[in-house]
């Protein structure tokens, strides 16, 4: 029993790192454009589906790590350009538009991929002894891959011109435009990156989750929780919150049920919204 809790806890951390990657994508869209993107989880799902497709057509897992984010990026740009921009980034209408988009994505996947959930084989087989249990190597890889992706993202934000532009626009849109930053392009790029990160998360998660057209619906609330509890606009906070939440949920589901674990996270989220809307990790903002 003790060992199961340990396994659940570590699984939680691994899962949390993957969700952190996805949630960061959500956070930059939410933080930058005030848009609640209800289709974000579905891009994670698309990432898992693309992984499955890559595996079945090419016989290899690894190309998916490049292909899926690229497609995600392209789709993100297209969505921003054809939909969000057309409604002048209006927050309320965006909710409806992204909700519609979510329905379309899920249905398209259902049509092409099918309604039956599938599993894929882990590209790294084998386990090792950890705290008295047999723990999969792949999960360690997943955690490391996520960390690398997250760190790369932060470096990009800090060191590159585009990243600096993104931060400037997020901080003060009008001043940024006045300074000559091409805000429209930044929006396009932000959407692209956001979706790409979700898709990448999907690829990393694919071997340890089911590939099913509905997985987006489950992961969306979790991403929002991470963003809110971490603090809107607080990107490191989002990462910390994602890992913490997944860890706590993992442990709690060992004692109670996953449903109760989820209720716990939701109550925590309500508390944050009502009492400390700047999030729990205020001090971590750069």
């Amino acid at each position: 029993m003790n060992q199961t809790i340990v396994a659940l806890a570590i699984n939680g951390i691994v899962f949390g790192l993957i969700v952190a990657l996805i949630a960061l994508g959500l956070s930059i869209i939410f933080g930058l454009l005030d848009i609640i993107n209800l289709s974000h989880g579905d891009f994670f799902m698309v990432g898992t589906v693309l992984t499955y497709t890559t595996l079945t057509t090419l016989g290899l897992f690894w190309p998916a790590l490049i292909i899926a984010p690229l497609i995600g990026f392209a789709l993100g740009v297209i969505v921003q350009y054809s939909i969000i921009q057309r409604i002048k980034n209006n927050a309320a209408l965006s909710i409806v538009a992204t909700f519609g988009l979510s329905m379309i994505i899920q249905e398209v996947v259902r049509m092409t991929f099918g309604a039956a959930p599938k599993r894929i084989m882990s590209p790294i087989q084998g386990t090792f002894g950890l705290f008295g249990i047999e723990y999969e190597w792949y999960r360690i890889f997943a955690a490391v891959a996520s960390i690398i992706a997250i760190v790369t993202f932060f470096i990009f934000l800090k060191k590159t011109k585009l990243g600096t532009w993104m931060r400037a626009v997020r901080h003060d849109r009008d001043t940024a435009t006045a300074m000559g930053i091409p805000t429209q392009q930044v929006y396009l790029f932000t959407f692209g990156i956001g979706f790409a990160m979700a898709a990448l998360g999907g690829v990393i998660a694919a071997p340890i989750t089911t590939v099913d057209f509905r997985t987006g619906v489950d992961i969306l609330p979790f991403c929002f929780m991470a963003v809110i509890i971490g603090g809107l606009g607080n990107l490191p906070g989002t990462v910390a919150a994602a890992v913490l939440l997944a860890f706590l949920e993992g442990v709690i589901s060992g004692f109670a049920t996953p449903t109760i674990a989820r209720i716990f996270s939701l109550v925590l989220m309500s508390g944050v919204l009502l009492v400390r809307p700047q999030g729990l990790f205020k001090g971590l903002t750069k």
């Binding site: 939410f30 005030d34 609640i36 209800l38 939909i83 057309r86 409604i87 209006n90 927050a91 309320a92 209408l93 909710i95 409806v96 538009a97 909700f99 519609g100 988009l101 979510s102 329905m103 379309i104 899920q106 249905e107 398209v108 259902r110 049509m111 619906v217 609330p221 929002f224 809110i228 049920t257 449903t259 109760i260 989820r262 209720i263 939701l266 109550v267 989220m269 309500s270 919204l273 009502l274 809307p277």
Partner: protein
């Protein structure tokens, strides 16, 4: 009270519908029309908050669910007869709306929308946890008691026409209530809050309290819808508390026309009709719903009733 020609003719059409449908041949459509009537009330609850107060709630499914379970559990656990059970639905929804509203209305905009979803998810998961009581996603079924059963005279919803008229009357009363309230000082104050909440505060309106009142009214409307739906299907299920249900309601309301009286009804009607007409021929009606939602939002954000009003104004000018 002056009723415009438009409303009057609509009402007459709705009243004559059952006979029209029987004449056309397939009673199935009466059932669909009844569903449209029920869900219009749900869309109306979303429109009330968003269109008239400026608060986008993505969690009205919670109050719908309470309306459903109020009726269902009233019948199965409390062994209530028809009318008490029917009142218990909206009543419990209203109480919960008040309790959640006290907290939710302290927030605005995104945070408000998010917390309404969070509350509905919490309740959904709680409902799953107490599966023995609520039946979880599978739900609970119940036997429908008669509406009126006295002196040998029986009136029951098992008769499709009776059911249709009962629900039509209830929902029409709800819409009428909305109309009256919005034409009053209270309703105008809500509009003021929507337009400019700082200004509203400045002129002496207690913004928090009025928003809470509106939230409770919307909860009541969603609860009525849920109660009717439970009676319609003779069952209640936790899955109707999930945010997907709320989301669809938002789409219906916006497509129909936010801030208009009949917009929610029209939006609901369109989407449910699409669902029924399309899904019998083509499996993928979700594409149409999603595509429609996106197109309306881009090309006609004021919704169908909004478009109609613009058209009428142009003709009149």
């Amino acid at each position: 009270m002056r009723i415009s020609l438009g409303y009057a003719s609509l009402f007459v059409a709705l009243v004559l519908a059952p006979w029209l449908i029987t004449w056309l041949g397939d009673p199935f459509w009466l059932s669909i029309l009844t569903e449209i009537v029920i869900w219009s009330c749900f869309a109306a609850s979303i429109n009330f908050l968003f269109g008239y107060v400026g608060l986008l709630s993505f969690g009205q499914a919670l109050y719908f669910g309470f309306g459903m379970y109020g009726v269902a559990l009233g019948i199965t656990e409390l062994h209530l007869s028809f009318w008490p059970a029917f009142f218990l639905g909206p009543l419990s929804a209203t109480v919960i709306a008040f309790l959640t509203g006290i907290l939710a209305v302290r927030l605005t905009w995104h945070y408000f929308a998010i917390i309404t979803v969070v509350f509905s998810l919490i309740m959904y998961f709680l409902a799953l946890t107490f599966k023995s009581l609520t039946g979880g996603d599978d739900g609970i079924n119940f036997v429908l008691p008669d509406m009126v059963s006295a002196a040998g005279y029986k009136l029951s919803l098992t008769d499709a026409t009776t059911q249709y008229f009962f629900m039509l009357i209830v929902v029409v009363l709800c819409f009428w209530l909305i109309r009256i309230v919005m034409a009053s000082a209270f309703g105008r104050s809500l509009i003021a809050i929507r337009d400019n909440d700082v200004r509203a505060s400045l002129i002496g309106i207690n913004v928090y309290r009025l928003r809470l009142a509106a939230f409770v009214i919307a909860g009541f409307l969603a609860g009525v819808s849920g109660a009717l739906f439970a009676l319609f299907g003779r069952y209640a299920s936790a899955s109707y508390m999930f945010y997907h249900v709320s989301g669809e309601g938002v789409v219906w309301a916006i497509v129909g026309g936010i801030g208009t009286l009949l917009g929610p009804a029209i939006g609901t009607g369109i989407f449910i009709l699409i669902r029924e007409v399309v899904s019998s021929h083509w499996q993928h009606y979700a594409l149409i719903v999603g595509g429609f939602a996106i197109c309306i939002v881009i090309f006609a954000p004021e919704g169908i009733v909004g478009l109609w009003k613009k058209y009428v104004q142009k003709r009149g000018a």
